[in-house]
Amino acid sequence: MRETVYVLGGAQTKFGELWNKSLSDLIREAIDGAIATTGILPTDIDYVVIGNMVGGETAEQAHLGTLASSMLPHRPPSLRVEAACASGGLAVHTACAFLESGKAETVLVIGAEKLTDVAGDIVTSALMRAGDAEKDARAGLTFPSIFALTAAAYMHTYGLKREDLSLVSENSHKAAVKNPYAQFRKEIPAAAISKSPLIADPLRLLDCSPISDGAAALILSTKRESNVRIAASQLASESLSLTERASLTSFVSTRTAFVRALSESGWDKNSIDALELHDCFSIATLIHLEDLGYAEEGDAIRIFRQGDAGLDGALPINMSGGLKACGHPIGATGVKQVLDCFKQLSGTAHHQVSDVKRALAHNLGGVGATCTVHLLETIA
């Protein structure tokens, strides 16, 4: 990082089916919470960056930058960014770029999505815009089925069993019990996950992150200090269409973003104490762990079998409940992941890992077409 970017704090709404709240209600609630917890004045905010994917289709609202800016008394400059499910991570990355360049000193970063106002098949179509419209979506593909293609290929290549996949969701559901913002706060045993209804073979309902509403906001600053800083902010791309990939069982964007982030921070990957991974589907978590280098190809399931992904494990994963159990309001997710890392590092998490110094937030757009990686650490 060219400048020290401090995370002053942030807030999130509850994630879930929030029929009583509109997109702007959610954004306002997150902004109010972030300003209140950090104790800054609203007018300290120089810039507003908001991540959102399908507001135009599911909330009939575009122009979200100014919508958010309008909620502040001084109407600061604002913009909306979009990279499908990585819209939130992209918003944090964009804010870092403004801060590093000196264009801004304090930035309000928001991620927000409202999905449950429209029928299921409309949401399904809207979310498929994250894929290639001409090459992938034309065949009638949906996002669960795109990841099902990677799951089927992974199982075929590495002999992974259906029952193994359930261990990943089980871990997320267990972690979410303590998170008051989570959509599902109930432990679900692996056996029940393996019996949930099929969505896109081999993926079942409980392999998939839910359709959620929600928002999250962060205040980042180079001017005001805190004891948590962003040590690296990286963004990487891979071909949009699955038809142009060499491999179905690895996402090059994750590998690229992480290698660059390690080089930017000067860290060793084994010095990271907690991970927030983009577990949009159970199979994705396994692929990420291999792309990040925490497991050999085809071997990531071992981390879950050995119980290493839990609170007391060697590599705690998604202690917020992840996308699977905390919920996945598309644009909000990447911001909320960084917020959860901040909570772990400042010792305020509901499911607190002991002795955390370094944390990673990994946000994915599409089927690995975009990836953002943020590394956060506490400063003594």
Binding site: K135, T142, A151, A153, L198, A200, E244, L248
Partner: protein, 304 residues
């Protein structure tokens, strides 16, 4: 969302598209389709085409069960319905063989005549052979069955060991086993017999049954087989079967037990016409021999 100009561009693109077969790299069943794709589950596969490019494609509904590595071939089918009611066609893919490449590419086609025992396959084929003597030839059947005096089909008799060796070497491209209490009945078609007929510039004719037909379709490709199903006259299945029973009895080739056995197979054959409708291009009712032969002759002329 309905984007009519986008549909126009796709139609232009499809006009120029090479219709290539490919191999399934991965597939899934979409159980919750997006808007416009109906409510019934369908299968989507990532397919590596034979020219090295990849496509995402739906499998046809009549496809056999896909596997990773299976070969598929494209067809134009309805893929979705626009909100204004416009039906949209696009390429869908049919699984043609399991984990095997086509054994040889189509240079011509094969006329397949199938139908239940007693429907008149042999008679019709004989008529066709007379009519087409200079440009059609019947494909011999390789069989483990002992030769009989009154055999009407061209047979090549082999031992079971020889038959298995031919299958293993992929010399036999389609085969079937007919369970029988009295004899070992394996039947098959040799690749070289069909190729030899094509080399002479002639049309190979097979008088066949469901399993053999499936085998031919799998190895030659669906479009390389002009497939005609023959039905006995009769408004109901019961009437059709009594016509067959009458014909089998008057033919006098079989014992009463054999006739009952044949009739059971015939019943299954009739059912196959509806269960495997995609394997048949034309269904003909053999109520008047001359008309039926002429119909097939016309089909072949068009096919040529």
């Amino acid at each position: 969302m309905d984007r009519i100009p986008a549909l126009h561009r796709r139609i232009k693109e499809l006009e120029k598209a090479k219709l290539l077969p490919g191999i399934i790299e991965s597939f899934t069943v979409v159980r919750h389709p997006p808007a416009g794709f109906g409510t019934e589950p369908y299968i989507v596969a990532l397919i590596a085409l034979h020219d090295g490019t990849k496509v995402m494609g739906q499998l046809t509904r009549d496809s056999s069960a896909p596997t990773i590595g299976a070969t598929v071939t494209p067809h134009m089918r309805r893929i979705r319905t626009m909100s204004n009611g416009l039906l949209v066609n696009d390429l869908k893919y049919e699984v043609v063989t399991m984990k095997t490449m086509p054994i040889f590419t189509m240079t011509s086609y094969v006329l397949a005549v199938s139908g239940p025992s007693g429907v008149g396959k042999t008679t019709i084929t004989r008529q066709l052979m007379t009519m087409f003597r200079s440009y059609a030839e019947q494909v011999p059947i390789v069989s483990t069955r002992a030769a009989k005096k009154n055999d009407t089909e061209p047979y090549v008799h082999v031992s079971k060991e020889e038959f298995d060796a031919l299958v293993a070497k992929k010399e036999i491209i389609s085969w079937t086993h007919m369970p029988s209490a009295t004899e070992l009945r394996y039947y098959g078609y040799r690749k070289r017999d069909i190729e030899a007929i094509w080399k002479k510039g002639k049309l190979p004719i097979v008088v066949t049954e469901l399993n053999l037909l499936k085998g031919l379709v799998d190895s030659l490709g669906r479009r390389a087989v002009l497939s005609c199903g023959l039905l006995p006259p009769g408004k109901s299945k019961r009437l059709m079967l009594s016509v067959l029973l009458h014909r089998l009895r008057t033919r006098g080739r079989d014992t009463e037990e054999q006739i009952v056995e044949r009739l059971k197979i015939a019943e299954a054959d009739l059912k196959a016409f509806t269960d495997h409708a995609h394997l048949f291009d034309h269904m003909l009712v053999n109520d008047e021999l001359g008309t039926c032969v002429e119909t097939i002759r016309d089909l072949v002329k068009v096919g040529n």
